[in-house]
């Protein structure tokens, strides 16, 4: 808590200072994206990535039918965590039924995961063990209940086990047990909301409005999704549904006429922050207490067009996009979440052409991701501002195509964003630490992804 305050104090002093940016030589193609005083570059710390091996999972009491499937899910989750170098193509001949630490050590593994799936009633129990190969011992083990493999929570239950393995090995949370909500165009130019699991499986359609529906955002418990839609009224209003698109309710017109857009939940789950764009005297960022259905509060705005609020994890700060410096130079600012004076987070330069938008505050720590373009001719890239490192360190995560609308994973380490490449549109996931990027869903016109919190068993 006090850390954030300190950071802001440091930032206030540092306003006149040059931006501190970790820069690596930018390629020739990126040279046009350079702004005087700010250098952007792909910069990744040379983190140690330990090698991890997975011994084929065993099954008993009917568990053998799905042991390979569970192993495949866990293996992919651990790869996607970007925290391990998962060893492939280990000859079966080397692998016996017992754990042979000397063998795994020779193959270069630091960690070894073993699993055993047992049939249990209608479902299964998977027993996962994390072995420390170097010390030749079991580091952690846990038993995880799985429903039947046709149950809609089956894969998510396996993901929860994977996330525990990540926690055992690194002390940090995983993000496999999560979903990503986003919008997708249909052939008529309408957009509806879909969700997909963090590993790219289980694509589901949530809304069937056949109109413009935008900006889905998860509630902190992962039970609900808020968004704006033109459905019914022909003007955007904010709605809330459960993740199956049911139990819909509309945020009342608490601020009169106008466009109600870009909702986000306070981390306490009770308050919704959003933008109303009505007349220039009525626009701005507001909050409304959903639980008590009351207490409209005005935070910021007026003729400035402040849009797309996002809360810090402790709920005390808010970042947003503003057009107060001009139409063509939107900037990212932050302010206390109860309102107050705002500071610019993006590298605004008077007279420059920098364009920064779409902020999302990390669930862990003082990082704000947004997308931006250094000058009017440039392309949009995902940027991460680190507020903790004695100033503002700005890092660029992407280097090709156009990249927009970043959203943090619950592990505070991965970011999903909408990418445009020569082959089309897609959602992509970048690992902030290694810089690795993978595709989540491609070839479709997708937009505005929002990563859920870790989804608990229900």
């Amino acid at each position: 808590m006090s850390r954030v305050v300190n950071v802001v104090r440091v930032m206030s002093r540092a306003v006149a200072l040059a931006w501190v940016v970790g820069a690596v030589s930018a390629s020739a193609a990126e040279a046009q994206d350079e702004l005087p005083g700010v250098e952007l570059g792909l910069f990744y710390s040379n983190t140690y990535v330990p090698a991890l091996a997975i011994q084929p999972f065993r099954g008993s009491f009917g568990g053998d039918a799905i042991a390979a499937q569970v192993e495949a899910i866990v293996g992919r989750d651990l790869r996607n965590s970007d925290r391990f170098e998962v060893l492939d193509s280990i000859p079966d001949a080397f692998i016996g039924s017992e754990v042979d630490y000397a063998l795994w050590d020779r193959l270069g593994a630091v960690w070894l995961v073993t699993g055993e799936v047992e049939g249990a009633g209608d479902g299964y129990v998977v027993n996962l063990e994390l072995h420390d190969v170097v010390y030749g011992e079991v580091r952690e083990q846990g038993r995880f209940q799985l429903p039947g493999d046709t149950d809609e929570d089956f894969r998510m239950s396996v993901h929860r086990g994977s996330d525990e393995v990540v926690r055992w090995a690194t002390g940090d949370p995983g993000m496999a047990a999560s979903r990503i909500a986003f919008t997708m165009y249909d052939n008529d130019g309408n957009k509806d909301i879909y969700v997909i699991d963090s590993d790219g499986e289980n694509l589901q359609r949530v809304t069937y409005y056949n109109d413009l529906t935008e900006s889905p955002t998860w509630s902190p418990d992962g039970d609900r999704i808020a968004f704006s839609s033109f459905k019914e009224l022909g003007v955007p209003r904010i709605y809330e549904v459960d993740r199956f698109g049911r139990n819909e309710r509309m945020l009342p017109e608490v601020r009169g006429k106008g466009d109600y857009i870009t909702p986000t939940y306070h981390p306490d789950g009770r308050t919704l922050a959003f933008t109303v764009n009505g007349s220039s005297t009525q626009s701005g960022i507001f909050t409304y207490n959903l639980e008590e259905d009351c207490c409209l509060s005005f935070l910021s705005g007026g003729p400035w067009y402040d849009v797309g609020p996002t809360y810090s994890a402790d709920g005390r700060w808010m970042a947003f996009m503003t057009m107060r410096f001009g139409d063509h130079v939107p900037q990212v600012m932050m302010m206390p979440s109860e309102g107050g004076s705002a500071e610019t987070l993006s590298p605004y330069e008077y007279g420059g052409g920098g364009f920064y938008a779409g902020p999302d505050w990390s669930p862990h720590g003082d990082l704000v991701a947004f997308h931006g373009r250094i000058d009017r001719a440039g392309r949009y890239h995902i940027l991460v501002a680190n507020l903790a490192d004695g100033g503002r360190v700005l890092r660029q995560l992407t280097s090709e195509g156009n990249n927009e609308a970043p959203s943090w994973a619950p592990d505070g380490r991965h970011i999903v964003f909408a990418g445009e490449r020569s082959w089309g549109f897609g959602l992509m996931i970048a690992d902030v630490t290694t810089g690795r990027i993978r595709s989540l869903i491609g070839g479709r016109r997708v937009d505005l992804p929002d990563w859920s919190p870790s989804l608990p068993a229900r």
Partner: protein, 197 residues
């Protein structure tokens, strides 16, 4: 008509009698209409015909005027609904848009019942949520321009579709230029447009 039939009848009767041959009895003298009454009759017929023609001409004239008025209303409606376009990432009213908006002001002043929804649109570049805000700023810039001429603010509502409803598909400079626009929808008083003289 009646007159002509009368003469035809007399003529036919004469032929019939002549065709009989032999020693016909002297034909009865053809009935001689009273000259005065015939004149009066023909006169009234002529007057009725003139009256009819006058009415028809009036009706045609009235119809022409109504058609002209409908054309003027349609033209005024088209002027009210004429789109205006914006520069890339800007919400400032361009010179060409200013001319189009001034033409709307004249009609709106004469037609106080007309209400309009101003729709702001953006091209696909820039991010979706930015474009929602940009569309709002464009619609609001148009509204403020119109209100600046003394028109009541309450006659206009604004809405932004962002980049969601392009006029022209495609990622070309010409498509983008068409898509950065303000559109106008008459929401009330559409049958009370006063096109002026």
């Amino acid at each position: 008509m009646i007159v002509r039939r009368f003469f035809v009848t007399v003529f036919a009767a004469t032929l019939l009698v002549g065709a009989c041959g032999g020693d016909p009895p002297p034909p009865p003298p053809p009935p001689q209409p009273d000259a005065d009454s015939l004149a009066r009759y023909q006169d009234s017929v002529r007057r009725a015909e003139e009256e009819r023609r006058r009415l028809a001409e009036e009706e045609a004239e009235r119809r022409r005027a109504e058609e002209a008025r409908q054309r003027a209303i349609a033209a005024a409606r088209a002027t009210l609904e004429e789109m205006v376009f914006f520069d890339y990432d800007m919400s400032e009213i361009r010179n060409d848009a200013e001319t189009a908006l001034r033409a709307k002001v004249e009609i709106l002043r004469r037609s106080p019942q007309v209400q309009i929804r101003i729709e702001g649109h953006a091209d696909e570049r820039g991010s979706t949520e930015y474009n929602m805000a940009l569309g709002n700023r464009r619609a609001e810039a148009i509204r403020q321009f119109l209100v600046g001429f003394g028109l009541n603010e309450n006659r206009f509502e604004i809405v932004s579709f962002g980049e969601g409803r392009p006029l022209q598909q495609g990622s070309t400079e010409s498509a983008w230029a068409r898509n950065r626009r303000g559109q106008f929808v008459i929401t009330a008083g559409g049958n009370a447009i006063n096109p002026g003289q």
